[in-house]
């Protein structure tokens, strides 16, 4: 199904050095509309670095990013957001001291103008937050609750709500289920399937084979910063993928 769908995001020959360390070397990646790509690899294989390059947080030392067929140079996460590419970080990237709503709209807060001055529109933030949480069936006491008062699962839900609040075309999730209770894992995976059905391309980085084999259509493995193996999900098996992670074909 994937090859017939529109290509959303393509990374070609991505290389990234940190000083003398080579984190990524000549890595390629593709994601299509409505497709979920699983990215697996051992610790230090370069998964998180690759995702940070895709989101514009790191600049690649070499290589190019194409979004809907056009090459883009991302100077900051703002650029990738403007293209419709959203990231859910492993460390959740939420400011605990701010309420849920302000976290969801952080950096993109709606404002109202009084003369030439722009003020935050708290009422609109709250309305939009409630509507969005409702849509995703995420239950919290109120949009005004501070994030530091939430449980791990609730925080993950807020992080995902944040990534999908602005009509994202591609959502990248770094270990979306790592810190969650079993019941909450199912909810997150449901959410991913829901995003796929609306045509969103999803990239999931995960150690959990259960996650990969529940939601992904294709899986690729990184090993020591390079493309190691890639396959449609129905043409591979858990054991094979686990082998890739350890560097065995």
């Amino acid at each position: 199904m994937t090859s017939t769908n529109k290509l959303l995001l393509e990374a070609k020959g991505i290389t990234k050095y940190f000083g003398t360390i080579t984190a990524l070397e000549n890595v390629n990646l593709k994601v299509h509309e409505g497709e979920c790509l699983g990215v697996v690899g051992d610790n230090g294989a370069g998964k998180s670095t690759l995702m940070k390059v895709l989101s514009g947080l790191y600049k690649p030392s070499a290589g190019a990013l194409f979004f809907e067929g056009k090459e883009h140079v991302l100077d900051s996460p703002k650029d990738s957001q403007n293209l419709g590419l959203e990231m859910v970080y492993q460390d959740l990237a939420l400011a605990g001291n701010l309420p849920i709503g302000e976290n969801i709209f952080l950096g993109r807060e709606p404002t109202k103008n009084i003369g030439f001055l722009k003020f935050l529109d708290f009422k609109k933030i709250q309305e939009m937050t409630s509507a969005h949480l409702e849509k995703l069936k995420i239950n919290v006491k109120s949009a005004d609750q501070k994030v530091e008062e939430l449980s791990g699962g609730q925080r993950q839900a807020v992080a995902i709500a944040r990534s999908t609040a602005f009509n994202a075309k591609v959502v990248i999730m770094d270990e979306p289920t790592a810190a969650l209770a079993i019941k909450e894992v199912g909810k997150v995976l449901d959410l991913i399937n829901k995003l796929k059905s609306t045509g969103v391309g999803v990239i999931v980085i995960s150690h959990r084979m259960d996650d990969i084999f529940t939601v992904c259509d294709r899986v690729m493995a990184l090993f020591q910063g390079t493309n190691f193996a890639e396959s449609q999900l129905d043409k591979t098996s858990r054991d094979e993928v686990i082998g890739w992670i350890m560097g065995k074909k």
């Binding site: 947080l57 996460p77 970080y89 400011a95 605990g96 952080l106 950096g107 993109r108």
Partner: protein
């Protein structure tokens, strides 16, 4: 039947307990927000009881406000920096340098509106230097950059003035620090005036309250303090915001210089010596957290007031300034301990 009634009673009791519990929980945020004001009110009451004739007299109250006027500007600047989880040790030196530049420009015979604008501009530039140093030179911590500029700015101030005081400014220049708003039209006596510096404090604090709580930039300042990588990942230009924050801090120190020029009618080498520590203390007492992201403008104001009232009250009671040091230090430690308890209580780990 009897046991059923007992059960019913017990349920009612449980409900009651729950209600009390939730009321208590509901009160916590208010206590967090306004607890420091409560402390301020208690202090005022205690001082009033100890010095019933003097403390709340018009003369003494205006005196307190005049004394805290320039410190309150430094504290507000340092507060914004602390919200970003940074620190600015150079505010005292920025104020001294701005004051010296003001004095030199005034002595050179520049018109008053230039003399008034010069320290604001100088303070802003000093803050900009701090901000650029912290972000562009990638200093490991703002402590280091601003410790450096603490020496650099004061040294520069002494170099340009020759290390000697320069005195005598015109009334226009002194207006903000020394001006009086006559209230005789309200039927008050001539001695019952309103210091211009009090109005200035209220105005500046209000403007910065609006800025920090109702503007995007203000919200981002809090976000950076809460989680800088979250702010960066949200597309916020963290370095730009930090430069703005340090520049504004310098600008406020410049306002402090202008007020001090009015109060003392002189630019002098020891101006603002160690006042950065007073400013930090006021922020900490007022509930700002060194870890960033926490604290309110109202809290800082309360912190400044608490320190001012403590000094003033102890002076009135003729307590040695050595005891004042001990007391202020103790209040800092106590205030931070309360902050520690509050964090334990309010945050899920």
């Amino acid at each position: 039947m009897k046991s059923l009634v007992g059960l019913w009673e017990k349920n009612k009791m449980d409900d009651k307990e729950k209600k009390q519990d939730s009321l208590y929980v509901k009160l916590i945020p208010y206590f967090e927000k306004y607890g420091i004001l409560l402390l301020l009110v208690i202090m005022i009451l205690v001082m009033h009881i100890l010095q019933p004739d003097v403390f709340l007299s018009w003369r003494n109250v205006t005196n307190v406000f005049k004394q805290i006027s320039w410190q309150s500007m430094l504290a507000l600047g340092v507060f914004m920096v602390i919200v970003t989880a940074g620190i600015d040790l150079s505010v005292g030196s920025i104020m001294m340098l701005s004051l010296m530049i003001l004095a030199i420009v005034a002595k050179a015979g520049a018109p008053w509106f230039i003399v008034v604008l010069v320290p604001l501009f100088a303070g802003f530039l000093c803050g900009l230097i701090n901000g650029l140093g912290i972000t562009l030179l990638r200093m490991p911590h703002p402590f280091i950059m601003t410790l450096g500029t603490l020496y650099i700015f004061r040294g520069t101030g002494n170099l340009i003035s020759g290390g000697t005081p320069i005195s005598g400014f015109t009334d226009e220049v002194r207006y903000l620090g020394h001006g009086r708003i006559d209230l005789t039209w309200l039927g008050l006596e001539k001695s019952q005036y309103l210091p211009v510096s009090l109005v200035l404090i209220a105005f500046v604090y209000f403007v910065f309250w609006v800025f920090l709580n109702h503007s995007r930039t203000g919200k981002w300042i809090y976000a950076i303090g809460g989680n800088p990588s979250a702010a960066r990942a949200s597309g916020i230009n963290v370095n730009k915001i930090l430069i703005i924050v340090y520049s504004l801090c310098g600008f406020l120190s410049g306002i402090g210089a202008l007020i001090l020029a009015g109060r003392t009618d002189s630019g002098y080498p020891n101006a603002g010596l160690q006042s950065e520590l007073d400013a930090i203390a006021a922020c900490i007492i007022g509930g700002a957290s060194f870890f960033g992201g926490r604290g309110t403008v109202l809290g800082v104001f309360a912190g400044v007031m608490i320190m001012g009232i403590l000094r003033n009250g102890l002076n009135l009671m003729d307590v040695s300034s050595f005891w004042q040091q001990v007391l202020i230090g103790s209040i800092i430690v106590l205030a931070v301990y309360v902050d520690v308890l509050r964090r334990d209580f309010g945050t899920r780990k």
